[in-house]
């Protein structure tokens, strides 16, 4: 999808910001900060409306908690007791701005504490098992009690905000990034698995090789996939026949 090719999960129409996959109920990739929180609440509304036992998981970055859609979505989710788990990945930076410079709370999970009926908790986002347990509790609570949960996972972003954004510079130091890399969630988890005798160093290296091969295969697949044909321009604007789109510009 990032290559903009027809075999991408959004047919090349979305790119890295708009990944969707209906086959696994992945409702996407939204590029406006916070805009998908009310959408997630609506999916939760539909689940409760239909008396289904599904649960919505909604992920977003730390900058979202300072915006209106966060509060509008949380208020409705809590008031109507919708089965939604909101997970803020607090990596400290909204693009190039330290969250502490723009948020009037010290800990982001306290933002959700104003809403009754909602459980809010903070978890070490660098600890795989802690995140797994927190999300499992939240999903159970959504499914059994039909109540929402807010999880703040405290983590860190090694790279820049986007591909054109440097990893460090005016807003943080190289030393800070290097220091945080020492607390890497994957390496920490691996140490734990090896320490507990669940995985050997050899098994890990084999797994690593398999994953690198899979990624390389994926890149080859992407490169060999065709770019969308010009006939695709008007596809998926509407779900029915809508003949009007090409009427008003005949010069290309």
């Amino acid at each position: 999808e990032s290559y903009g090719r027809v075999d991408g999960c959004s047919g090349g129409a979305g790119g890295s910001m708009h990944l969707f996959d209906r086959s696994v109920n992945f409702l996407g990739g939204h590029g406006i900060v916070g805009t998908h929180l009310p959408v997630a609440a609506g999916v939760g509304y539909a689940i409760k409306y239909r008396k289904s036992d599904q649960v919505v998981l909604c992920f977003f970055g730390d900058s979202v908690v300072n915006g209106g859609p966060f509060h509008e979505a949380f208020n409705m989710t809590a008031k109507w007791e919708l089965p939604v788990v909101y997970v803020v990945e607090n990596n400290s930076y909204g693009m190039g701005t330290d969250i502490d410079r723009v948020a009037a709370v010290e800990q982001l999970f306290t933002r959700a504490c104003a809403y009754q009926g909602k459980r809010a908790e903070q978890v070490d986002g660098q600890d795989v098992m802690a995140v797994y347990e927190a999300v499992s509790r939240a999903v159970h609570r959504a499914r059994e009690e039909v109540r929402p949960t807010f999880i703040e996972a405290v983590t860190y972003r090694y790279l820049g905000h986007s591909m054109s954004d440097p990893a460090h510079g005016t807003y943080r130091t190289r030393e800070e990034v290097q220091r945080e890399r020492q607390n890497d969630p994957i390496n920490n988890f691996l140490d734990r698995l090896i320490g507990a005798g669940i995985c050997t160093d050899e098994e890990y290296k084999e797994l690593d090789r398999e994953i690198i091969a899979e990624v390389e295969q994926a890149a080859e697949y992407a490169e060999s996939s065709p770019a969308p044909d010009r006939d695709e321009i008007y596809s998926h604007v509407y779900s029915d026949e809508y003949g009007d789109l090409a009427r008003r510009d005949r010069w290309r």
């Binding site: 991408g8 999960c9 959004s10 047919g11 090349g12 129409a13 979305g14 708009h18 969707f20 996959d21 209906r22 409702l27 996407g28 990739g29 939204h30 590029g31 406006i32 805009t35 998908h36 929180l37 009310p38 959408v39 997630a40 609440a41 609506g42 999916v43 939760g44 509304y45 539909a46 689940i47 409760k48 409306y49 239909r50 209106g68 859609p69 509008e72 979505a73 208020n75 409705m76 008031k79 596809s235 998926h236 604007v237 509407y238 779900s239 029915d240 809508y242 003949g243 009007d244 789109l245 009427r247 008003r248």
Partner: protein, 327 residues
């Protein structure tokens, strides 16, 4: 045929569609216990219960976005905005979410949702409550836009909009709710994107939509009696898809056109209509095309100026006179 108000026609459309399809639900400010700020949803809460008639907090972007989520998850929400002025707070949900979901997911998730409410000026509601939002939505690929002028069209278009698989922006006329008109007793649908000739004439075409259709009709009646000019009035009914075929066919017959809209002139719907006419019927024109629009100012509170800002039958008649070389 029964004679009902525009408000009653909308209520009937909602009731029929909610009876037919349990995925249809209504959500918005005051739609339940209060029966709707303009009483369009009267009686629905008692009939369908709170999960299908949901009173919301005053948080337009929030509940509009919630509607989008419910729609992609398979329900068919009808989101009411108390007025379209407040929907500016939900422009993000409508434009960035509803209008884009289907395209940017490569056709995986469509959004069967209706956003509805009153637009346009009423009486001395001043600058923030009198705006015409029509072109703000007609500009957006991914949306469909309806602007019914009569009770029959309000009924037929709303039923079609609710059954449509794409997001529909449904802009009612705030001063039209009490307008009465004949409505078929049997089930009634009006297709989206099909204009309607509300009055036939040979001498000049007047293009209008929503409340301006009534202004155009008054001007056309006066043109007939005062000028012996027979005007054809084309009611666009939908602004997206925009039925240029009907407009162009009318102009090919009459060779003259006045384009009327309540909103502002710059980048208004009328500008698009003028382009459609000049592009496809240039050689048929016997006079330049005239536009009559709202004046290019925020709405004034004082009645004396408000009356001047909104297009009147007098203004349309002046344009007709000019294009027929009668002034």
């Amino acid at each position: 045929m029964a004679v009902v108000t525009y408000r009653e026609a909308l209520n009937r459309a909602l009731t029929e569609e909610m009876e037919r399809d349990e995925r249809v639900f209504v959500i918005g400010e005051e739609v339940g216990e209060y029966d709707g700020a303009y009483k369009v949803s009267k009686g629905l809460l008692d009939r369908f219960g709170e999960w299908r008639v949901r009173d919301t907090p005053i948080a337009e972007n929030g509940f509009a976005g919630l509607g989008v989520g419910a729609a992609v998850a398979g329900l068919r929400p009808v989101v009411e905005f108390m007025t379209w002025n407040f929907a500016l707070l939900a422009y993000d949900a409508i434009v960035n979410s509803a209008a884009k979901f289907y395209y940017m997911s490569g056709g995986q998730y469509n959004v069967p949702i209706v956003f509805r409410g009153p637009g346009g000026s009423a009486l001395q509601l001043a600058a923030q409550h009198s705006q015409v939002p029509d072109p703000w939505y007609a500009n957006i690929p991914g949306l469909k836009v309806c602007t019914p002028a009569t009770p029959a069209d309000a009924l037929g278009l709303l039923k079609t909009a609710i059954r449509d698989d794409d997001p529909v922006v449904f802009i009612e006329g705030e001063l039209l709710y009490n307008v009465k008109g004949e409505v078929p007793e049997e089930e009634h649908f009006v297709p989206l994107g099909v204009a309607d000739v509300k009055r036939s004439g040979e001498d000049i075409t007047i293009v209008a939509h929503s409340k301006m259709v009534h202004v155009a009709m008054q001007a056309a009646e006066r043109a007939a009696t005062e000028l012996e000019v027979e005007a054809e009035v084309v009611d666009l009914r939908s602004l997206r898809p925009l039925d240029a075929d009907t407009v162009v066919a009318s102009v090919r017959k009459t060779n003259r056109a006045v384009v009327v809209e309540e909103g502002w002139p710059v980048a208004g719907i009328g500008a698009q209509i003028v382009d459609d006419i000049q592009r496809e019927a240039f050689d048929d024109l016997d006079a330049p095309i005239a536009r009559v629009s709202g004046l290019d100012v925020p709405m004034h509170y004082a009645r004396s100026l408000e009356k001047l800002i909104v297009p009147s039958p007098d203004a349309v008649l002046s344009a007709v006179k000019h294009l027929c070389y009668l002034d």
